[in-house]
């Protein structure tokens, strides 16, 4: 199974969730600046990347991806991913799409501190990742 974190708000929540999933970021507390700097693709994506599934790492045999979610056609892209996997391997789910930005999002930040929104969102993102992991196990 591959997990694809995306955000309809098009912020950094997928990258943060993927980093939590891969234990690049701590589970217990919001990241400090040094931990924050380790987040893959924390600069965000550009229009050239829209629709791409970007591999971030492996954990427990599952591929972890983030998707650069396009502003207008996000639901259509998600539909394409689901319909292609159904066409190629009917009845099986190879990609689990997870909206990491459902509870809010964090936007690319060039400052030398952790964006303030992260502290508020972090417990929610940890819970989201734990839920995904429970689903993968069970």
């Amino acid at each position: 199974m591959n997990v694809v974190y995306y955000s309809t708000r098009r912020g950094l929540a997928p990258q943060v969730a993927a980093a939590i999933h891969l234990r690049i970021l701590p589970m217990e507390h919001p990241p400090n600046w040094f931990e924050w700097r380790r987040i893959p693709y924390r600069q965000g994506f550009t229009a050239r990347d829209w629709g791409r599934l970007v591999f971030v790492g492996w954990r427990d045999g599952h591929g972890i991806f983030v998707m650069a979610y396009p502003p207008r056609n996000g639901p259509l892209v998600a539909k394409v991913i689901n319909s292609i996997q159904e066409l190629m391997d009917p009845g099986k789910t190879h990609f689990q799409l997870v909206d990491a930005g459902a509870g809010g999002d964090v936007f690319p930040w060039r400052g030398h501190t952790v964006p303030a929104a992260v502290r508020e969102l972090y417990p929610h993102l940890v819970e989201l990742v734990l839920g995904v992991e429970r689903g993968l196990r069970g």
């Binding site: 591959n2 990347d49 829209w50 629709g51 791409r52 599934l53 591999f55 591929g63 991806f65 998707m67 396009p70 207008r72 056609n73 259509l76 892209v77 539909k79 394409v80 991913i81 319909s83 292609i84 996997q85 066409l87 190629m88 391997d89 190879h94 990609f95």
Partner: protein, 140 residues
């Protein structure tokens, strides 16, 4: 859709085609927005390749990137031959399609789209021919 019919031999590759033949095709100018993103099986060609069509609406670039990502990650890229036909479609056919599908002016848009398709037919035939040659070379 026209390219798929050419590929499957339901439209001729050599002789002229009439507007009424295009209009008589069952799926011509019938796509709804809800059909976008779902592959539609059109038939199997003489070499045994299943032929599908898929529409991406205004999300062509991001949808094809997502599709290529999925195919690449799963190792399915060699099993699917993606062909973008949009470059072969002229302004007239696009305008007709927009009038019919987006604005609902079917009686004006559909014949215009069919006529535009006739004007784009040679380009589509060349594309289909090149696809068939590539598939035949892969086949052996």
């Amino acid at each position: 859709m026209i390219a798929a019919h050419l590929h499957l031999g339901r439209l001729p590759m050599d002789r002229p085609v009439q507007v009424r033949e295009i209009l008589a095709l069952p799926l011509f100018d019938r796509a709804q927005a809800s059909d976008f993103g779902i592959p539609c099986y059109m038939g199997t060609d003489t070499l045994g390749h299943a032929v599908y069509i898929i529409g991406f609406g205004s999300g062509a670039r991001e949808c094809s990137q997502a599709m290529e990502s999925v195919l690449g990650i799963m190792g399915w890229a060699g099993e699917v031959f993606l062909v973008d036909v949009l470059d072969c479609i002229g302004v007239t056919a696009r305008l007709g399609g927009m009038l019919s599908r987006r604005l609902g002016w079917v009686s004006l848009g559909r014949p215009l789209a069919a006529w535009g398709m006739l004007r784009s037919l040679e380009g589509l035939r060349r594309l289909v021919q090149s696809v068939k040659e590539v598939l035949a070379s892969r086949h052996g």
